[in-house]
Symmetry: C2
Subunit: 510 residues, 2 copies
């Protein structure tokens, strides 16, 4: 344990560091200088990406402390704060560290529910955020479907599409993960109905037109999206109908009568239970096929997360996902991979579905969170509906977020952050496995081997562990009923893993 439980020893408070100061002043020239300095030392193994990051957490008060409590009390009067986790001071947060108004600074392995990609106040992103084109994007937000900016193709090609999964070369942009999934579902329904109608150029019937206006079939078709038990795809009405994570997400909201297939209940580590898991996966594939064939509202598409995240960090083998790809082809429906949480490098690949070795790419891949932008990738031009204004809304995405995504993907490339996450993830997984051997009642079903830092385990006292995390200086999240899920940023390195492991052991000892 000694090698990775080495305590970080530097204690210079990061708030006096040049980068932190320039970040809080936001002088582009000062940031540019610091940025150059940071780049010069970060290309070499365990050299830190953020040299002026805090060397460890600082816990000064109970959380929430007095200043946070005051801010929460004020906010509660106008905004629902009952799900509040920690009042945050973003100006004082930096790199992997999240700060609060009371001077507490925690190592953040939750990262805004897995949505901060390259560190708080990342200097490269700060340059993008203070650029003239960003200012224009903020104050001149276009209706992209009607009035795209003249350089929109360039922004897409050098940004969102530069990160496109292999085989997918087009994008429809949206605003959030939930929105991205619903847009993909709409594309799937329009595609399916157009097929049923006899092809791309066959027009709607009067009956379809009239019935659509009163929400009745055939115009509003009785088709469905098949999703999996414990899956999470968002909380709008369509996406929530495919979400099967927790009752609290779904109760009292009307839902479509869409089918739910079982997601495999695998044993971990996956490779040690290969035979049992393969049988379980086959059972789930068989049931999926039965539902595709028999459900009274036939599916137009199957949607699945590469790793079920909100639903408890549930994994399956590449073979299961290859099976889904084959089933959807066999039955002429679409295969939508929801990479909202898994995408952009966290699993040690840019896209988690790269782990699967598919024979042909998914029909659509949805993204958001770490991308900061959102939307779905596709390639089949028949997934563009056969008439304009069928897939349309006022903003259709946000160039400001597309510019940010471009800066993010450049930072990911510049610092080799996908490789970093793969290597750090392996190191962290080994450390956790050692901890699991030492504290078998604290870490059960450790999972995420070979999946970058996308690691989780079950804890019999999960909520207590998360709460105690704050007292020892780590901000950590849960998923499902009992899982502790690690969702650090892509700049999480081995020295951060050492701190995390040390703090976890302190919790387990308590």
């Amino acid at each position: 344990m000694a090698t990775f439980l080495r305590t970080a020893s530097r204690s210079r408070p990061f708030l006096s560091s040049p980068i932190a100061r320039s970040a809080s002043r936001l002088s582009p020239i000062a940031v540019r200088k610091q940025h150059a300095a940071a780049a010069a030392v970060s290309d070499n193994g365990e050299q830190p990406f953020f040299p002026d990051e805090p060397t460890g957490p600082i816990v000064k008060t109970a959380i929430p402390g007095p200043k946070s409590q005051k801010a929460i009390e004020r906010l509660s009067k106008v905004f629902d704060t009952r799900s509040l986790n920690m009042m945050t001071d973003y100006q004082k947060s930096y790199g992997n560290y999240i700060a609060d108004p009371d001077g507490n600074v925690l190592l953040d392995v939750y990262a805004q529910i897995a949505s901060i990609p390259v560190g708080y106040n990342n200097p490269t992103l700060l340059l993008a955020a203070t650029s003239p084109e960003m200012a224009s994007a903020i104050i001149n937000r276009p209706a992209l479907g009607n009035f795209p900016q003249h350089d929109w193709a360039d922004i897409l090609e050098t940004g969102i599409l530069a990160a496109a999964p292999k085989g997918l070369d087009q994008v429809f942009t949206g605003t959030t993960g939930s929105d991205a999934n619903e847009l993909a579902y709409k594309a799937a329904f329009m595609w399916k109905r157009q097929q049923e109608r006899g092809g791309y150029h066959v027009d709607f019937t009067e009956h379809e037109i009239n019935s659509s206006m009163v929400n009745q079939s055939p115009g509003a078709p009785e088709l469905s999206i098949l999703s999996f038990s414990s899956g999470f795809h968002g909380r709008l009405f369509g996406s929530l109908s495919t979400t099967r994570s927790k009752p609290i997400h779904k109760l009292d909201i009307p839902a479509f009568d869409w089918p739910r297939a079982p997601f495999p209940s695998c044993k971990y580590p996956l490779d040690e239970y290969a035979a049992e898991n393969a049988a379980e996966e086959q059972r789930c594939l068989d049931e999926t096929e039965r539902l595709i064939k028999e459900w009274h509202n036939p599916p137009a598409a199957v949607v699945v997360e590469p790793i079920q995240s909100e639903g408890g960090d549930n994994h399956a083998s590449p073979n299961f996902f290859r099976g889904l790809r084959e089933l959807t082809k066999k039955h002429n429906i679409l295969f939508i991979v929801d990479e909202v949480q898994t995408g952009l490098g966290a699993t040690g690949k840019l896209w988690a579905h790269e782990h699967w070795g598919l024979s042909s790419p998914p029909d659509m891949v949805t993204f958001s969170k770490k991308a900061q932008a959102a939307g779905y990738y596709y390639s089949n031009t028949e997934l563009r509906p056969n008439k304009p204004y069928r897939q349309f809304n006022t903003w259709m995405g946000d160039p400001a977020r597309a510019l940010l995504f471009r800066a993010i993907i450049k930072e990911v490339e510049r610092l080799n952050l996908v490789e970093n996450t793969a290597a750090t993830g392996d190191y962290l997984y080994d450390g956790l496995r050692s901890l699991a051997q030492k504290y078998p009642n604290e870490i059960k079903n450790l999972r995420g081997k070979g999946q970058g830092t996308f690691i989780a385990w079950d804890s019999p006292r999960r909520d207590e562990v998360l709460k105690k995390g704050k007292t020892v200086g780590i901000n950590i999240g849960g998923s499902g009923e009992a899982a502790v899920r690690l969702r650090p940023m892509l700049i999480f390195q081995k020295h951060h893993a050492n701190i995390l492991l040390e703090k976890l052991e302190a919790i387990f000892k308590s």
Copy 2:
């Protein structure tokens, strides 16, 4: 006609103006200076808000011109461009004028589908967009429900809530108009079911919990939202189920079996047909009440636009809306006013429902578009669901857009833009009425009297008029089947109205 058809005579190209240059360079100091200069002359009647705006449209090429065509061709390879209206150069757009890559500059009375509030490259917004807090909001996007920034209450109180409709003092933030409406619907469903359950503190039953996970009632209740024929509330699955504008918006997308009440088919001007309109409105109120009482999936709420916008600019009298407020109270369901397009000053009131003189405020008012932010206002704390995480998602809005909204509302106050829009709207309406007398086959059913610049009319050759607009230098939109809708920004002044009226007459003469 002579008075308002005076041709603008200055011809100095605005792109060489100091503000335009500073805007394209985005030097905050230069902008600050210009901003001060602009403020000094804009407080006085018909003094222009943007002194360096172009004095009139410049049409150099057919639209799209050669450069635009090239950009469209390139964009089409990766992005669906079939609904493209005009390739736009936002850096060169300014105030009320929209520019394209070919040097064409049009007077814009469509304003990104009614979503640009205070002018392209507005210097005040530019200052907000280049502020340190905006940069932080862009690069450190929080999960607001879990980790709100410490000054979130302040940002809300000085921004979104400073513009809150009378009687509503809380907000739930979202990302788009569609999202805002769905969030409001979810709040309504949770409220209604909690009432049916016996009150705020009564817990869910096992049956509810289990059935919710398979999308069946009672957990996923068979409740509805009642909306009106020709209404538009967005294009996500729940909001689209309440949208009744056009088949192309709805075809092939599964929808909930929710009721559609008739929206009054009024005659214009409303006051000249008061008796007939009152009878029509009563018919629609009666049918609404019948549906509330008898629809097999009972409504939890009624949603209505103050002026139906996408659906053809359909107006009704304040009496109709007061009737809806009373009906919803009588039947203990909620009254949601969708001010996504009407809100933020365009009707000559900050919120269009202020025109109605309601005895008690709506239960929820949704906003987006000109607000740039989105969400719903409410006041009844029982509309906060009874447990945390019921109304929740990753981002829950966007502080960057909340900061922009704050700058917008300050600009609206500083320049008295609601008053401006009321006065300019009256002037424009009078001019259009004169044109309608002169060209009775071109302008039919002129409407929007006393509703600021929220004016529309029916045209027997609508699409041709819109297209010809570009050739004479105006960018103008349609709604419904035959309406020309004016949706200028709040900085649209009488001298802009003069240009618009002159150009319209040129079209009518052609």
